[in-house]
């Protein structure tokens, strides 16, 4: 489904990603780990066309992703959440989710003001779909609450809801359980499993929480200084001396 080949990204003198290869097959649930600054989020930013890599190839469903405009990524079925939240604070939770479904609507600068036929039904449909997703993530009671002022963990879930409203095929989660309590982390793992089955998703999750990644993912890829240093089942990666060294410096 997704093929990353020899991806290299440099920021000035810093090489954030250096020759990264990654293959993701449809239906997989992959964990992307690595110390801070390893290039995990940079990889996500390349996949959603926030950054253009200096070299390398990104193929998605057989097409060259680098030829897709940033706003058209959602239409190709890729959606994501952000490490430090990328919500719209002044909008309500429901409206945030409805923006996620932007590509599934048509109402524009003429049809909406004039309330042309179809606008009202489309609005009702988008609202209904947003509420369905919110119900799935147990957020429906907060639908009318502004996104500003909710707890961080809740907002992380709102972001997942917004990403799901786009009806993606590939979902990229950037540190979804960062800042969550122990109980919330377990709940969240359950949510991810359920949405993967229900929405038929392929998921790549960046996370530092080892318990979460190891318990959830089928395959784990570890990045360090912009390179893939280990790849395999959670057990294999956990035992890999290169991974242990990357995290702890030396074996402790």
């Amino acid at each position: 489904m997704l093929e990353v080949e020899q991806l290299t990204v440099r920021f000035g003198g810093i090489t954030a990603l250096s020759g990264v290869d990654l293959r993701v097959s449809a239906g997989e649930l992959i964990g992307l780990i690595g110390p801070n600054g390893a290039g995990k989020t940079t990889l996500f930013n390349c996949l959603t066309r926030r950054y253009t890599p200096d070299s390398g190839r990104l193929a998605y469903d057989g097409d060259d992703l680098l030829r897709v405009a940033p706003f058209a990524i959602a239409r190709r079925g890729i959606s994501r959440t952000f490490q430090n939240l990328g919500l719209f604070p002044a909008l309500t939770v429901r409206e945030n989710v409805m923006v996620g479904a932007h590509q599934h609507g048509k109402a524009g600068f003429w049809s909406a003001p004039l309330r042309l036929p179809g606008v009202r039904t489309e609005e009702a449909r988008l609202r209904e779909e947003a509420d369905t997703v919110l119900r799935r993530l147990e957020l429906l009671h907060l639908a009318d609450h502004p996104a500003a002022g909710l707890p961080f963990g809740t907002l992380k879930r709102v972001e997942v809801a917004r990403a799901l409203a786009a009806k993606p095929k590939l979902l990229l989660l950037d540190e979804p359980v960062n800042g969550l309590t122990h109980g919330e982390v377990e709940d969240f793992a359950g949510i991810v499993r359920r949405i993967r089955d229900d929405f038929d998703l392929t998921i790549v999750v960046v996370e530092h929480h080892m318990g979460f990644v190891m318990g959830l993912c089928e395959r784990v890829v570890c990045l360090d200084f912009g390179r893939v240093i280990s790849e395999g089942t959670p057990e294999e990666v956990q035992r890999d001396p290169a991974v242990i060294e990357a995290y702890l410096g030396t074996e402790a």
């Binding site: 926030r50 959602a74 990328g86 604070p89 002044a90 932007h102 109402a107 003001p113 606008v119």
Partner: protein, 342 residues
């Protein structure tokens, strides 16, 4: 405690969305209040003297202009220090059409709207590459540039003398005086403009516009094309200014370059901020400011009206950082809490 900026954000948001918290009053009471307000607005031209009616008509005109400016500044997070120029294009275009063209005056409105829409689109594209201060400067230069340009082509624009046009007469069947008729025409234009913008904001397009303002990168990831929404916001904003300009020519019957100086553009922006950014009612409050600030300032200090109006702006911003609309929201919320307790 929330920081003030966060509270301000939340307050500006409440009008853009159907307020879920505003259900303390029973529905019938809201309708009664609305009906009373509507009756007052409709009865005003019979209650006030013609000069006051004329002033209130101009308030309606400015409300349409500020509605447009709000779409740009409040809802899409851009800025324009030159909206007086679009207003002027609408006003002059209408005056020229009424002088030269043999067309019914009502037809000048869609023409002015179309012309300023296209102009707004043309300005919206370079605006994409400019932000904040840079955009402010470019739009400001537009406002500075226009009055001398108008004076430069006297055959078309009447030069410094300006143009006088015959004002639309009130149809005989209405039995209304001219000022009353123009008030109702302006009211109709304003109501249509407000309904259109409200519908826009409460739609997929409106949400996308706000999303771009709030977090452009995230909006883009969600499939919103920021350049499209920003450009169209600019075009709609210019169009509403042009519509206001067209109606102002009907109402005043005269255009001159000195009515459209940079001071007008700055007053419009000040009026919007004082009325309340990203709030539909803010455009109405702001329109009162634009209409009456100079005369109030003159009353406060005949010697230095500029200083008086400046101090007025500072005072309002200190008392109500989210504008009059924000202040009204806070006061009604407080009143509701009190009512709910009793």
């Amino acid at each position: 405690m929330k920081s003030t900026s966060e509270t301000a954000e939340r307050e500006t948001a409440t009008e853009a969305v159907p307020a879920a918290t505003a259900r303390v009053l029973p529905p019938w009471a809201r309708w009664v209040l609305l009906a009373l307000a509507a009756a007052a607005v409709l009865y005003a031209p019979f209650y006030f003297a013609p000069f006051r009616v004329f002033q209130l008509t101009l308030v309606l005109v400015y409300a349409v202009v500020l509605l447009g400016l709000n779409l740009l500044v409040g809802y899409s997070g851009q800025i324009s220090l030159g909206h007086g120029a679009f207003f002027a294009v609408g006003a002059y275009g209408t005056a020229i059409l009424m002088r030269d063209g043999d067309i019914p005056y009502l037809l000048t409105l869609p023409i002015a709207a179309a012309v300023t829409f296209v102009l707004g689109l043309a300005f919206g594209v370079p605006a994409l590459r400019l932000r904040g201060l840079y955009l402010a400067l470019v739009t400001l230069s537009m406002a500075i540039f226009l009055p001398p340009l108008l004076k430069r082509f006297p055959e078309l624009t009447g030069g410094s003398q300006g143009l006088s046009v015959e004002q639309p007469a009130s149809p005989a069947w209405t039995g209304l005086a001219e000022d009353q008729w123009l008030y109702y025409v302006s009211l109709a234009v304003a109501v249509v403009a407000f309904v259109l913008v409200r519908n826009l904001l409460r739609s997929r397009a409106g949400r996308a516009l706000l999303a771009v303002r709030e977090n452009e990168a995230a909006a883009e990831v969600m499939g919103v094309r920021p350049s499209f929404y920003k450009t169209l916001a600019f075009a709609w904003s210019a169009m509403l200014a042009g519509v206001g300009g067209a109606v102002s020519t009907w109402v005043i019957g005269y255009v001159a370059p000195d009515s459209f100086t940079v001071v007008l553009s700055i007053n419009l922006l000040a009026g919007l901020v004082i009325g309340g950014l990203a709030s539909l009612s803010g455009a109405v409050y702001g329109a009162f400011f634009v209409m009456f600030v100079s005369s109030v300032a003159q009353d406060i200090s005949g010697a230095a009206p500029g200083i008086a109006s400046g101090l007025l702006i500072i005072a309002v911003m200190l008392i109500a950082p989210t504008g009059v609309a924000g202040l009204v929201r806070r006061l009604t919320a407080a009143a509701r809490r009190r009512l709910a307790k009793e």
